[in-house]
């Protein structure tokens, strides 16, 4: 399942990038620089989506319990952290030729930076707690608290920095620009989803080792319901 999704994601990303780089026409005002949007916008969508999935796993982990939720929570947190790091880098690459600075204090970009740091904080918490039970509960609580913060950060940065550009949404973009966006969006989703599934399996195995001999002889599939 994980490998399949990764393969699908790679194919979608390759075709989307080919379309975006060679088929789509050059944008009128920004030229070729605009083509970074074909990666940037799908990355942004998926960073938020992965964080939302992580939040869902955190809620399920608290409500229902089960090591499977915890393993997926960990994997999705890492995925969201990787994507938001990529977003910050892409934002800097975009800002440099467009405004002549590396960082433009755009509310979305700044919120992403804060989100990235918050995710690193939760991952640091996970790595600092040795007891698997406490690690699962505490990091789930931290994820919920950080998730609620994201819209508040967004609006406070937006007010702080009155200068702000319009959101790009499919309505304001013409068809030859939509195709690579959609292809890449689903490509990133499939790739990161597949990687997260594979990563979650590793996390589940580590937790099983930590829980000790009591859970040792269970088959890999049974771990998910073992808590």
């Amino acid at each position: 399942m994980g490998f399949l999704l990764v393969a699908v994601g790679v194919v979608l990303l390759l075709s989307g990038s080919w379309y975006g780089l060679f088929v789509s026409p050059q944008e009128r005002y920004m030229g070729d620089v605009q083509r970074i949007m074909y990666v940037h916008v799908p990355t942004a969508w998926n960073a938020l989506l992965l964080f939302t999935f992580a939040m869902g796993c955190a809620l399920m982990s608290l409500w229902r319990g089960g090591w499977g939720w915890d393993a997926h929570h960990e994997a999705l947190l890492e995925g969201a952290a990787v994507l938001s790091a990529l977003l910050c880098v892409q934002g800097a690459i975009w800002a440099r030729p467009t405004w002549g600075v590396w960082w433009d204090w755009d509310p979305r970009l700044t919120t992403t930076a804060v989100m990235f740091l918050a995710l690193l904080g939760i991952l640091a918490l996970r790595s600092a707690v040795d007891d698997p039970e406490k690690r699962a509960t505490w990091s789930a609580v931290a994820t919920i608290i950080a998730f609620v913060d994201v819209p508040i950060v967004y609006f406070s940065v937006r007010w702080w920095n009155s200068l702000h550009q319009m959101q790009s949404s499919p309505e304001t973009v013409s068809a030859p620009f939509i195709v690579p966006l959609r292809l890449n969006a689903f490509g990133v989703l499939a790739l990161m989803g597949g990687l997260a599934l594979l990563r979650a399996r590793v996390a589940a195995r580590r937790t099983a080792r930590e829980l000790g001999p009591a859970l040792e002889p269970l088959p890999a599939g049974a771990l998910v319901e073992a808590r």
């Binding site: 608290l62 804060v114 989100m115 740091l117 918050a118 690193l120 904080g121 939760i122 640091a124 918490l125 600092a128 707690v129 040795d130 039970e133 406490k134 509960t137 505490w138 609580v141 931290a142 919920i144 608290i145 950080a146 609620v148 913060d149 508040i152 950060v153 609006f155 406070s156 940065v157 007010w159 702080w160």
Partner: protein
């Protein structure tokens, strides 16, 4: 309600016992304010312009020290006297702790204001509004701060962990409190103050509710 006041009384008593520690945090905050002025330069105009931001940065940096200390005293005193063994619901425990931390942070902020006034020329014509702002901001730091400090109190590398968790979360508090204090210090011709205060009130409302709910989850395991 009586239980709540008993718990709050216990928390304030614990903080009173560690007042030497609180004093050294005040000195830390004042040192931070002095050091930040060296980063800006001796120009009185720019110092006054950024005084609000530096006041809140100093308070934020000191807050992790007081939050850690409040939990440390707890752990030490618990071993000595078993005060924590009072049969108190976790929610009551959280609100008494968070309220005591709010009081301590508000006190710290209030003590740092004269230092900022002397060093940065950050006088304001509305001292009561500034005090209210400090209490609000302290509340915004204290609610998530108490929750995170409880988690990190027994984790490895807690000195680094608490700021890593707390600082990104309280970005809205820092922004809103900085802007609001700058408006109080430099004047508010556009009447923007209430917007920032609303943001702070909203942050406090959300996190005092959410952290109260979550505290039960983290201490019950």
């Amino acid at each position: 309600m009586n239980v709540f006041f008993a718990a709050l009384h216990k928390e304030l008593l614990l903080q009173w016992r560690t007042r030497a520690r609180v004093l050294s945090v005040v000195v830390f905050g004042a040192t931070a304010l002095l050091l930040m002025s060296f980063a800006i330069g001796p120009d009185a105009g720019s110092l006054r312009q950024y005084a609000g931001g530096f006041l809140w940065l100093a308070l934020l940096l000191s807050s992790t020290l007081t939050l850690e200390a409040s939990l440390e005293a707890e752990t030490e005193q618990q071993a000595l006297e078993g005060l924590l063994l009072l049969p108190v619901a976790p929610t009551i425990l959280f609100y008494s702790k968070a309220l005591a931390n709010t009081a301590q942070l508000a006190l710290l902020g209030t003590v740092l204001v004269p230092v900022a006034i002397v060093l940065y020329g950050a006088g304001t014509a509305r001292p009561l509004a500034l005090f209210g702002l400090i209490v609000l901001g302290a509340g915004g730091l204290a609610a998530p701060g108490t929750l995170y400090a409880t988690m990190t109190a027994r984790a490895r590398a807690k000195q680094t962990l608490l700021p890593l968790l707390l600082f990104p979360l309280v970005v809205p508090v820092l922004i809103a409190a900085t802007k609001a204090s700058s408006l109080l210090i430099l004047g508010d011709p556009m009447r923007q103050l209430s917007a920032w205060l609303t943001l702070l009130v909203a942050f406090c409302g959300i996190y005092w509710t959410l952290c109260g709910l979550m505290f039960g989850v983290i201490v019950e395991d």
